[in-house]
């Protein structure tokens, strides 16, 4: 079966867009083919800085023929309708149509329209121009002479040529010819910009990959990554060093080269005085280079690894030299920032925070710090943190934003605060909090453990959430520009993973924000494998304010339901709830009223007497246990109800003839229903 090879050759595609674009190309072309009846066996997509490529294996040579029934007007319909039908179906005479009978509508005409499948090659030639013209680049542009025309082609950068061939392994593939705004498809591509710029004739995927490789282009991003990672490790190992692994950087670097050549450079030892994170940030952000550490140690080495796109005549000596110059200049700047910053105390920077807007409607960072201090003082006793340390950390936590270093490298915010605080002799917890109050930054980030850090981290996130809620900037759908979901998840994790009880509503959190926390809590618990419905059951019982307690209830409920007692009690609850639902609906009233114990004593059956008694005891025990937050104990107390409940349903007819007895039995069931609500609303538990 024939294969398709497509390559779109352009000027340099931004590294961050390549992988996604290759995937988009694959899904757009394959789904357009499938839509036209051309199924395939496999598809592979690739990207390099200068090309997107697609290889589709196992396509049919022809699109399958299609038979389509076209429904026409009823027999005897006006001539105009008949003519319209004939025209639409491509028929010349009514005799070519068949008549179908329908019991309701009577007889009507049917035309069977057969369309011959086209050669797949033509199908491809038809569909590709539109896919190319409407390609979903995050940002695209016009260029050249044609850019003045309406509807000019847009691409991420100027598109230069299109290679497109189709054919099976046993024959010479043909060019799929089409034209996109003046660019004609062909069978030509180009190799490495400097090492092999001449045009290359390509037949199919096999020789395409091989010819590119000999023209110094590695087509697969993953292979380029592998080459870089391996060469980097090898070079490091030879020097007794280790690469500080960085997959995000590796992905980016692989998108900047077609032929990776890893080279090692060095810088002066004296720069190692600068905090290692800063060295890494400098070299990474500006130079896209990896840093190295001494094998088996955390100490950085005065070396770096660069990935060039060139096999240079002098084996890279000039390239290394040039990169070292830039690294040296950058590190000189960083060293200057570091030394300048150390001359100014963090507290003396606060005034400058007045010039930094946090958000137009939420004031400056200075105002925000004032709020954080108040909040930190409030939260400190709850988290069991030293209030004066928490307040101190809150005062200083944004001061590094106006340091030279953070101005240059925003990604070291917080961390620099910690370094500067440690240098000016702040308490260790205070210094740590300056870094840690930004954490956790997501589901896999570390949660602070130090009480001062926890306090300021909570204050930071609660202030953000309450603030944005108050100006109605809530996340919608996929839009969450202020990362409020992350902040709320941060609060959830800070509370749960540190066993902190916090009554959210006491800290300006309204119902809408509380519901937002519940959503995050559900996502968090679901990720941990917790049942969704159990969370709903606990929330429905009215326990909404204290996230830690919600989770404890969920855990107790989960354990209980996994036991025999739990399953049976739940079955009993459902039976009771169903009966009540039906009878309450019928009677138009609720039976949530006190049971007439006297009536039971006088006229009740043995099983209902027992249930009434046990219910009284179990309810009291359950409530007592809940009061001391022993939810497992509360569940155990409820479990004691099980034999009595089972016996009651076994022996007692709820709908007794005596009106009063019936009502009282319903009240008894209602109080059983109520008793279970001590921990959760069982009715929200999924069957």
């Amino acid at each position: 079966m024939p294969d398709l090879l497509l390559e779109l050759f352009s000027e340099e595609i931004p590294a961050r867009m390549q992988r996604r674009a290759a995937e988009d190309l694959k899904s757009l072309v394959t789904s357009a083919l499938v839509e036209r009846g051309c199924t395939y066996e496999a598809a592979l997509a690739f990207a390099t800085p200068r090309r997107l490529a697609l290889h589709i294996v196992g396509l049919p040579a022809h699109q399958p023929d299609v038979k389509e029934e076209k429904k026409g007007p009823r027999v005897g319909a006006p001539q105009q309708a008949i003519e319209g039908f004939l025209k639409g179906a491509g028929l010349t005479d009514l005799s070519q149509a068949t008549i179908q009978s329908d019991p309701k509508k009577g007889d009507f005409y049917i035309a069977i329209v057969e369309s011959k499948g086209k050669p797949t090659k033509d199908v491809i030639a038809d569909l590709l121009p539109n896919i190319i013209k409407s390609f979903p680049w995050p940002k695209s542009m016009r260029w050249g002479k044609l850019s003045a025309e309406v509807g000019a082609l847009r691409w991420v950068r100027p598109l230069h040529s299109i290679l497109c061939t189709f054919g099976s392994e046993t024959e010479t593939p043909e060019i799929v010819s089409f034209d996109v705004e003046g660019i004609k498809s062909g069978d030509i591509t180009y190799g490495h910009r400097f090492l092999a710029p001449a045009p290359i004739h390509v037949r199919r995927y096999d020789d395409y990959v091989a010819k590119l490789e000999s023209a110094k282009v590695v087509l697969s991003t993953d292979r380029r990554k592998e080459i870089i990672a391996n060469d980097a490790r090898g070079l490091a190992f030879a020097q007794g060093l280790e690469v500080v692994e960085d997959d995000t950087l590796l992905e980016e670097v692989a998108g900047l080269v077609e032929w990776p050549v890893v080279l090692m450079g060095s810088f002066e030892e004296r720069f190692l005085d600068i905090p290692p994170e800063v060295i890494r940030a400098t070299i990474r952000a500006n130079q896209k280079c990896f840093v190295l550490r001494k094998a088996g140690s955390h100490e950085l080495a005065n070396r770096f690894l660069l990935t060039s796109n060139m096999i240079a005549k002098d084996d890279g000596a000039t390239i290394i030299n040039g990169n070292q110059r830039v690294v040296r200049a950058r590190l000189s700047d960083a060293k200057f920032f570091w030394e300048t910053d150390l001359k100014i105390k963090l507290e003396d920077r606060l005034e400058k925070l007045k010039n930094i807007t946090f958000h137009a409607k939420l004031g400056t960072q200075h105002e925000r710090v004032e709020r954080l201090v108040t909040l930190a003082k409030e939260l400190a006793p709850i988290v069991k943190a030293d209030a004066s340390k928490a307040a101190r950390a809150a005062i200083l936590c944004k001061a590094d934003l106006v340091s030279e270093m953070v101005g240059e490298f925003p990604e070291v915010q917080g961390l620099m605060g910690r370094y500067y605080a440690a240098r000016q002799g702040e308490d260790a917890s205070v210094a740590a909090a300056l870094e840690e109050h930004y954490k956790p930054q997501g589901p896999s980030d570390v949660v602070p453990k130090d009480a001062v850090s926890i306090t300021v981290a909570l204050a930071d996130k609660l202030d953000t959430l309450v603030g944005f809620w108050s100006i109605d900037e809530k996340p919608t759908g996929s839009k969450d520009p202020y990362a409020l979901r992350r902040a709320a998840l941060g609060v959830v994790r800070l509370l749960l993973e540190n066993n902190v009880r916090l009554a959210l509503k006491a800290h300006h959190i309204d119902e809408s924000l509380l519901a937002f926390f519940h959503d995050r809590l559900k996502v968090y618990l679901r990720d941990q494998g917790q049942r969704h419905d159990l969370i709903d059951a606990v929330l429905a019982s009215g326990q909404t304010d204290d996230l830690l307690m919600i989770v404890k209830r969920v855990e107790a409920l989960d354990a209980f339901l996994a036991s025999d007692d739990g399953t049976n009690l739940l079955a009993g609850f459902r039976r009771a709830a169903n009966i009540l639902k039906a009878e309450e609906k019928k009677d138009g009233k609720s039976y949530n009223e006190a049971v007439d114990l006297h009536l039971i004593k006088e006229k009740g059956e043995a099983e209902e007497k027992v249930l009434a008694e046990v219910l009284d005891v179990a309810t009291r025990h359950a409530i007592e246990h809940v009061a001391i937050e022993n939810f497992a104990g509360a569940m155990k107390a409820l479990a004691a109800l099980r034999p009595a409940v089972d016996a009651f349903f076994d022996k007692i007819l709820v709908n007794a003839d005596d009106k009063d007895i019936r009502a009282n039995r319903l009240r008894l069931l209602a109080s059983f229903r109520e008793a279970t609500r001590a921990v959760a609303d069982f009715s929200a538990i999924a069957g």
Binding site: P14, W143, A312, D314, I319, G322, R325
Partner: protein, 308 residues
């Protein structure tokens, strides 16, 4: 000491030869070689030969050196890399030719950067000028890890779609020359390519100016005067635009009006360097300059040069 023309004309040893080589190269590509615009601008893009000529249907090719002023970047002559006054080499080609990347690489070769020895890369960098209401897509051009040029396909200028699109190249001349000459401090650049007592360095030419202008930009410039001049330039720009606007016909005064826009932009940069502009004011200043730029662009499109 004998002066040989090869020393003074070698782009690898002489700053001015680098400029002359680029002039020669781009002249051969059909560019008109212009002289710097005679006003203070923050970048070569501000030259009307780029900003205004990028608008409208007429074909245009130009290259020039533009002294660029970034008052805030002054370092009193003490930083080896930062200057408040430096040279940009600017090339604009409208419409952008299909081989613009190749031309750029050839120009590097002409000034002594052999692609067989170096690692030259085009790294994503989307260009945007909020004050000019302009944006484009392109790259930072890297040579051995150092950004040596900016390469942009203009998509919009002064709020108007570029039609056709112009390609713009901006070379940071000092940085490029430092690399080619192998010099670590900008003030050590050999300006005239000579040695001994005949040698003139970049420091000989500009060090004193950097010191004096840094004092001016950060300490001395009278902020009340600057603020007043900003308002004056803004008002004058609008007045000239009104004066030149004859309704349906051509606009008669786009270029003089645009001068006032340039002036306002530079005054804003000075005020910014003096540290008297708050965050919110900053936004509003940028907005005001952009409004002027847009109005000038609109006027230009109604002139002969703009294709009206």
């Amino acid at each position: 000491m004998a002066i040989t023309s090869s020393d003074s004309m070698n782009p690898k040893t002489s700053f001015q030869a680098l400029i002359l080589t680029l002039h020669q190269f781009w002249a051969e590509q059909g560019c008109v070689i212009l002289q710097p615009y005679d006003m203070e601008v923050g970048a070569g893009t501000f030259h009307p030969a780029t900003t205004l000529r990028a608008l409208g249907p007429k074909h245009w090719r130009a290259a020039y050196v533009q002294p660029s002023r970034r008052p805030k970047d002054g370092r009193y002559g003490e930083n080896p890399n930062r200057l408040q006054h430096y040279y940009q080499y600017q090339v604009i080609m409208k419409p952008s030719p299909a081989n613009l990347q190749d031309l750029y690489l050839k120009s590097l070769f002409a000034i002594g950067i052999d692609p067989a020895l170096h690692d030259i890369r085009f790294v994503e960098d989307d260009w945007e000028s909020p004050t000019l209401g302009a944006w484009g897509l392109g790259w930072e051009c890297w040579c051995d890890g150092m950004e040596v040029s900016q390469f942009t396909y203009f998509q919009q200028v002064a709020g108007f779609e570029c039609s056709p699109v112009a390609g713009e190249l901006t070379y940071g001349l000092e940085r490029l020359a430092m690399y080619v000459q192998g010099v670590e401090n900008v003030y050590d650049l050999n300006f005239n390519g000579l040695e001994g007592e005949d040698k003139i360095t970049y420091g000989d030419v500009f060090l004193q100016a950097e010191q004096e202008y840094s004092r001016h930009n950060f300490e001395a410039a009278n902020t009340d005067t600057l603020a007043r001049h900003f308002k004056d330039a803004e008002a004058e720009c609008k007045a000239l635009l009104d004066f030149g606007n004859k309704g349906e016909g051509r606009h008669l005064m786009a270029l003089p009006a645009y001068d006032q826009c340039i002036k306002a932009s530079h005054l804003f940069n000075l005020l910014d360097a003096r540290g008297v502009i708050s965050v919110t004011e900053r936004q509003s200043y940028i907005f005001r300059v952009r409004e002027l730029a847009k109005a000038c662009g609109e006027a230009w499109l109604k002139t002969e040069g703009g294709g009206a």
